[in-house]
């Protein structure tokens, strides 16, 4: 499959969007684990 410059630009744009989504998911996971730890250590 031959990719044009436009296709490649579009692919990179999608990739960037996915990277941001993955970062948001990982950050959310870290925050959740942090809060859960605080609650569990507090006997919650």
């Amino acid at each position: 499959m031959v990719m044009t410059g436009e296709d490649e630009k579009e692919r990179l744009r999608r990739q960037r969007k996915k990277n941001w989504a993955l970062l948001a998911a990982l950050m959310a996971f870290v925050v959740i684990v942090y809060i859960v730890s605080i609650i569990r250590m507090g006997g919650g």
Binding site: M1, R11, R14, Q15, K17, K18, A21, F29, I32, V33, I35, V36, I39, R40, G44
Partner: protein
């Protein structure tokens, strides 16, 4: 090229089961979200939350939110694995050919990896944040949906929906276990409610989507045993479901308002199943089957809503259930 892509190639679809045909990493964020089957997830989340809320005991609100999140993500993850495995039949069914894999939006392995990673994360988080009984049930529900329903039963037996339906019945039991740390009669009844609701719900859909299932060679009951047998089975399960729907009120899981509404809605469920039983094949019969399908969703939503309302502060009609009220 795999057998899968050869088979599909012979059927003339644009889809290829071979990952090489789809550029790796080509999926968009929206395609990954579609893999999670958001519409199915909404019912799972709702019933899971109802089980959690109706359970006796206390749980920190944040941990409750985490438990519901884990149930949601796990159900979505199982859906993604299901889409990976069923991409060949999804491509030939009208209802499912718009899904990301049949449309070649991403490589199948990416969908599989996405589903497996989310499954593991959700089970581990449930175990660490809530308790390991709830986590174990979550893992069991996921494994049941993927291995028992999707891989083992769906393409082999018209009873696929009956046995496989257990996977969808787990969420209220998981929610209950998140609070109580165990499984008891109350949560088993909530499990049974969804378990017996599933066959008439899906067979009503299969009645008016029969052609789709036949095309995909999925042995749904109307395809294998015919419409008349399916309608009789729908009636049989509706007759079991109607009294079962009232049981939470008799056991004290829910109150009298729930009990009364469940009795009325259960009776109407049976009436609609009767209308389906008497209906002829054709557009009119399909319309009645569609009505039963829609009503079955409403039935479950209303019952679980009342289960939640009965537990809401200041709105409780509990009084140890109907037996307690009478006694």
């Amino acid at each position: 090229m795999s057998d899968l892509s050869l088979r599909l190639g012979a059927e003339g679809t644009a889809f290829s089961g071979d990952a090489g045909a789809v550029r790796r990493g080509s999926g968009q964020v929206s395609d990954y979200l579609a893999l999670l089957k958001p519409r199915v997830m909404s019912l799972v989340v709702f019933s899971g939350f109802a089980g959690l809320y109706a359970a006796p005991g206390e749980i920190h609100p944040f941990l409750a939110a985490v438990a519901v999140l884990c149930i949601a993500v796990n159900a979505g993850a199982a859906g993604a694995i299901n889409m990976w495995y069923e991409r060949d039949i999804d491509a030939v069914m009208d209802r499912t050919r718009g899904r990301p894999l049949p449309r070649g939006k991403m490589a199948p392995q990416e969908a599989l990896a996405f589903g497996v990673v989310l499954s593991l994360f959700s089970v581990m988080l449930m175990g660490m944040a809530v308790n390991w009984v709830a986590a174990g049930l979550l893992a069991l529900a996921n494994a049941f949906y993927v291995f028992v329903y999707t891989i083992w039963l769906k393409r082999r037996t018209p009873q696929n929906i009956v046995i496989g339906g257990a996977a969808g019945a787990f969420p209220p039991m998981i929610g209950w276990a998140a609070v109580t740390g165990g499984v008891d009669l109350h949560s088993i009844v909530l499990f049974a409610l969804i378990f017996f609701w599933t066959p008439p719900h899906f067979w009503a859909l299969a009645l008016y989507r029969q052609g789709d299932y036949a095309k995909a060679k999925v042995p749904m009951l109307p395809v294998v045993a015919g419409r008349a047998a399916t309608k009789r089975q729908i009636m049989a399960y509706s007759l079991l479901l109607a009294p079962l729907g009232v049981l939470p009120a008799l056991l004290g899981t829910a109150g009298v308002v729930y009990g009364a509404v469940a009795a009325l809605m259960g009776a109407f469920f049976v009436l609609l199943a009767g209308a389906v039983l008497r209906s002829e094949a054709g557009p009119k019969g399909d319309r009645i089957a569609r009505q039963l399908f829609g009503y079955s969703i409403l039935y479950l939503f209303v019952l679980f809503t009342l289960l939640i309302i009965d537990r809401a502060p200041g709105l409780s009609f509990q009084a140890n259930g109907i037996f307690g009220l009478l006694g």
